[in-house]
Symmetry: C2
Subunit: 314 residues, 2 copies
């Protein structure tokens, strides 16, 4: 059994990755700042990986063959601009060095479409589209891969970098696009989409989790876009949500700025080299997400004000 | 007086920066792992900035307005591929955060022409030539700037990034091109230039030091190439050295590979925005370098074997 250490396994993406990894037969070990109950195939370890002593003890205790590093500061919308990104970039580099020193053979990190230059209307292609992040989050993710790729080459270990596009679904932070539209319109409030004509690549989080797990267990190296490969207008997504909630009259939309109008993944590497296919179409994914958020909302007090929201991203 | 904290002030470049900074009227503070005697305008502090406790104590003791971060692992040829680069990248990000937390207002770091994609025969232009480092050293330097630029923007501090091209002169590591040619031919051994047709941007280290000092004390932000802007064939440089040593018959040359054939700085930002001009022409610089290395060699035992050498770089 291949031993895999996962950081960030309790997050929005991470909780979908764990069952997919366990299902693929990996011996999955997960770090968490809180104590958690282990289950079949998934062993939890209590550690704060921002603390070098914890990090060293964890890696030398688990001795993983593979590290899947998902942990990062990810609270929207703060994560775009928070200085904590720099701390996570530095910690991620420490983690990579610690893994290699402990005999690990493969590093898998998680990047973002926000590393790419967002201009024009071409698909984002790994190793071809310019890396020109416009945000602190994108800059710090790009920083990690800039150091990690040649570090792995010189250390003769494998390194892969999963660039997430726009992920939605269960457990998404509630102030992002999909949950906030569901919640607002179900409460009878206006749902407003600010970037209706922007084209994005949306992927259901269960698919994002299984794609990352597949990449982790593969021998594929280098950056790999994690997306659907399907260009979808944000307005189309919003309309699909409004229809599923049954309140299309509550949806208002504006086109959005001319900039950043098209961010869609070329998924050739994911499809061909990793050999992965999504399970959810956009329709199936929205069915699932609206159902999940509706169930969550039924258990919550009805919001009495319109929620702000931000775009969903990885 | 503007208080400037300098890391790496005892290195090949750093020792040229310090007098230039002091001459510009700065209150210069320098960190060093060894104890050193302070002098007029330059105060030394003993600290190992790879140790977070030292780093914090140093920055909070000095409370600089400006940080000039020169320190890095720089032993040729190992620095191109050493995993220690990753440690310095992480430490540099910690340093930036520490400066800002202590109220600093300007960060100046040192990058390299090895961050750029080396292809074609165009000058390297900041913010235009693609960043595509081929080495671990270049990847780690690019990583620092990728995180530092947006970090500074969000923190409302200034950040500048000095990209060094090919620096030569006094105190250069002895196994690099200029010193190894001088030393070999003065000892009557063959001096061999492996990349005679490669075109590079050479700058005397005193000019590199004064350019970095000028950038540090300016308000210019963003990446700034530090070079002469003059395309020079490596073979021309080697020939100039052989003639100055008086042993042109000892010089042998080969063209070098077709790849990486042209690496020259566009220096518009340095000339126009920083307002800096070099003091040394190539002829004057080679006069000085050959004189300096000849004096050093006269005080050393004569080498009895041909030295290996690598290209000079920042």
């Amino acid at each position: 059994m291949t031993r895999v250490l996962v950081t960030g396994g309790s997050g929005f993406i991470g909780r979908q990755v764990l069952p997919a990894l366990a299902a693929s037969g990996a011996d999955v070990h997960v770090s968490s700042r809180a104590a958690r109950q282990s289950s079949a195939g998934v062993t939890w370890h209590r550690a704060d990986i921002l603390d070098p002593r914890h990090l060293n003890a964890l890696v030398n205790d688990v001795r993983p063959e593979i590290l899947l590093h998902l942990a990062w500061f990810a609270t929207p919308p703060d994560y775009w601009r928070s200085p904590v990104n720099v701390r996570w970039a530095a910690a991620s580099l420490e983690l990579a060095q610690t893994l290699v020193a402990a005999g690990g053979r493969r590093l898998v990190g998680v990047g973002t479409c926000a590393e790419y230059q967002w201009s024009g209307s071409s698909l984002c292609v790994e190793n071809a589209t310019p890396i020109r992040p416009a945000t602190l989050y994108g800059g710090c993710k790009a920083a990690v891969w800039s150091a990690l790729e040649p570090f792995a080459r010189e250390a003769s270990v494998e390194a892969a970098w999963a660039r997430l596009f726009f992920v939605y679904g269960p457990n998404e932070p509630a102030n992002r696009l999909v949950p906030s539209l569901v919640t607002a319109m179900r409460a009878g409030n206006r749902g407003h989409c600010r970037t209706a004509r922007h084209v994005r690549d949306f992927l259901h989080v269960a698919d994002a989790g299984s794609a990352i797990a597949a990449l982790t267990m593969s021998g594929v190296t280098g950056p790999v876009n994690i997306g659907s490969g399907q260009p979808v207008e944000v307005g189309t997504l919003a309309t699909g949500i409004a229809e599923r909630v049954g309140r299309p009259e509550l949806l208002t939309m504006e086109d959005g700025p001319q900039t950043d109008a098209f961010v869609v993944a070329n998924v050739d590497r994911l499809r061909t080299e990793v050999g992965w296919r999504p399970r959810f179409s956009l329709d199936d994914g929205l069915d699932d997400a609206v159902r999940w958020w509706s169930a969550v909302n039924s258990q919550l007090p009805t919001p009495n004000s319109q929620l702000g929201f931000s775009e969903a991203t990885g």
